[in-house]
């Protein structure tokens, strides 16, 4: 039991996960499954973005789906209406969501807790309304078709599923590595301090506004780039991408996996995506299950799968340590719980 638990928390697990992801196209039953997996990876990137601002920094951003849609629309508009190639448009989607995120951030992050959540909910809705009504720019409710796929410079054809799968996987790994670097850095710890208490963080000399805006911009860049990739694979988008339901989907993924943990977004997105796939007929009504699940999770398991596992393991290690060497009780349990949190 303990050995299994240790394995799950060890760096070796990450290698296993990556190896599985690499050979997945070979063992998948159909091309459709590879496609679903690639889409799930794209959503996971967006969930990692939300994890930065909501999980690490503690600010519930309800406009996240809107930023995802903005990224998708930047790629769509630039490639279809202005004849750009995919890659410059993809870079532009990151830049534009950063700029827009910065502007929204400096206004919205002056607000605390509920005000921030309500404000961002409204921002998300403004984004949706603009995409739906501003026909000259966004083609209105018809959406945009024939978005350019990522070009492979004659070497790779990204309109095929398998090459695209590896492309998305590459970006996902990049996203996770970056988040893990951030979370173990001083910046990441600053975000955590802000989540625990605004006032406490401020009294430590942390510049609240600058760090919150940084976290917000990082999260919108993640969302925007994920949206850009999405536009490249689906190649048709409409204002429905900005609907608030997608933000709620992203929150569900994050909460199931474990809010504020490193592997939580991945675990949550995979679990829910494949659960939904398992009962396909039910996709339209998935919220009948997801809604109560969200409520039950928040009440009984607020840390999600990964968070609960880490807490359980930390507690187990802490209680075992003194049983082995009774005399060094205090120091031992302290190091083992530290170890547990480092492996997180």
């Amino acid at each position: 039991m303990d050995r299994i638990a240790n394995f799950f928390a060890s760096p070796a697990m990450k290698v296993v996960l990556l190896a599985f992801a690499l050979i997945f196209p070979l063992i998948a039953g159909s091309e459709y499954q590879i496609y679903v997996m690639a889409l799930a990876f794209i959503w996971a990137i967006a969930v990692y973005g939300l994890n930065i601002i909501t999980g690490f920094c503690g600010q519930l951003n309800l406009a996240h789906g809107g930023f995802f849609a903005i990224g998708a629309y930047v790629v769509a508009i630039l490639t279809v209406d202005h004849g750009w190639a995919f890659w410059p448009a993809f870079v532009a989607s990151g830049v534009f969501s950063a700029v827009f995120g910065f502007l929204v951030g400096i206004v919205s992050l002056r607000l605390k807790e509920h005000y921030f959540a309500i404000f961002t909910l409204c921002v998300g809705f403004i984004i949706y309304l603009l995409l739906d009504k501003w026909e000259a720019l966004t083609h209105g409710s018809l959406g945009i078709i024939n978005i350019a796929p990522p070009e492979g410079f004659g070497l790779i054809d990204f309109t095929r599923t398998i090459p695209f799968y590896y492309l998305v996987l590459f970006f996902l790994v990049l996203a996770i590595v970056l988040v893990s670097r951030i979370s173990s850095s001083l910046v990441g710890r600053t975000f955590l301090a802000i989540r625990i208490s605004d006032d406490l963080a401020q009294s430590l000399g942390i510049n609240l506004m600058r760090n919150k805006v940084l976290a917000f911009v990082l999260s919108t860049v993640y969302a925007g780039l994920a949206g850009g990739l999405y536009a490249g694979v689906v190649r048709f988008i409409g204002p429905a991408e900005a609907e608030v339901v997608h933000t709620f989907d992203i929150i569900t993924y994050l909460l199931v996996g474990g809010i504020g943990t490193l592997m939580g977004p991945l675990v949550g997105t995979m679990a829910i995506t494949w659960l939904t796939q398992a009962v396909q007929s039910f996709e339209e009504y998935r919220m009948i299950v997801f809604g109560p699940m969200l409520v039950l999770l928040v009440i009984f398991m607020p840390k999600g799968v990964v968070g609960t596992f880490l807490t359980w393991r930390g507690r187990r290690l802490a209680s075992k340590a003194p049983a082995k060497e009774g005399q060094t009780r205090v120091g031992d349990s302290a190091t083992s719980s530290k170890e547990a949190s480092d492996n997180a």
Partner: protein, 287 residues
């Protein structure tokens, strides 16, 4: 001038509905400090229940309204008991997410049962009144009179009865209310019941001149949030005044500026106001 008065009248209709919904939201916020994102779903369920009673059961409009009010009041109390009560000590982010869970669930259930197509609810009051050059459909008059009499009744209830004052007391000072022996559970349940009732009655009043569909609560709830931020979270007069401001701004803005973007007006107003004054317009000191 006639056009202006006509739009002002439309604004009054909109504003009184927004006010009713925002009142429930602000009452709940005052007691539990929860922004109840599920409130819009309760509004939507209210519209469907009164549609069901009126069209499918063929009963009277007023019975439908009352039935919807009671049903949603019970539903709202259930939400409080099953969800918000167990979460009362959790970090604030949790009850927001739980509220979103309720919202998703209710919407999915309604969509499964009634489908996602738009429905039109009939009204027994189809007459049109004319004052000078002003045209006033009877249903709009009913909305204005109905909404304001309910607001008046609520005011009397909160100010003149013992149970009403316990709600006010709890909103003013939680610990103080406990000290004088007010039962927090009872007050919370009552507040949720009132909020649900107001939302359902607002929906039943508004449904005949609007459409009934599963996503009908989205815009209304978001505007209600804008209103209570404008009027100060937890403030009862603030909700009514804020409702009227948004109603007028929308009706006049939709006529004079752009009808395509009229739904944006409330949100742009919110963004502008919060950018200048992050605590809202009428809040007093504490947040």
């Amino acid at each position: 001038m006639d056009a202006f008065l006509q739009q002002a009248l439309n604004g009054l209709t909109l504003g009184s509905i927004y006010g009713l919904v925002a009142l429930g939201l602000t009452l709940v916020y005052g007691i539990l400090h929860v922004p109840n994102f599920a409130h819009g779903a309760l509004y939507m369920v209210g519209a469907y229940i009164s549609y069901y009673i009126m069209v499918d059961l063929g009963l009277n409009y007023w019975i439908a309204m009352l039935g919807a009010g009671l049903f949603v009041a019970v539903l709202s109390v259930l939400c409080e008991r099953l969800v918000f009560h167990p979460l009362r000590h959790a970090p604030p982010i949790h009850d927001k997410i739980a509220a979103i869970g309720i919202l998703l669930f209710l919407e999915a259930v309604v969509q499964m049962h009634w489908g996602s197509d738009f429905r039109r609810m009939p009204t027994p009051y189809t007459g049109i009144l004319e004052f000078g050059g002003l045209v006033l459909p009877a249903q709009r008059l009913l909305i204005i009179v109905g909404a304001f009499s309910i607001m008046g009744a609520l005011h009397l209830y909160l100010k003149k009865t013992m149970t009403g004052s316990t709600i006010i007391a709890m909103a003013q000072n939680r610990e103080g209310a406990f000290l004088v022996g007010i039962d927090a559970n009872r007050v919370a349940m009552m507040t949720f019941a009132i909020a649900g009732f107001l939302a359902a009655v607002g929906a039943s009043l508004f449904a005949p001149i609007n459409l009934v569909y599963p996503a009908m609560g989205h815009l209304v709830i978001m505007k209600a949030f804008v209103i209570i931020i404008l009027g100060g979270m937890g403030s009862i007069p603030g909700a009514i005044v804020g409702g009227l401001i948004i109603g007028f701004a929308e009706a006049l803005g939709g006529y004079y500026v752009s009808s395509t973007y009229k739904d944006l007006i409330a949100f742009v107003l919110l963004v502008v106001i919060l950018s200048i004054k992050p605590t809202g317009l009428f809040t007093k000191g504490v947040r």
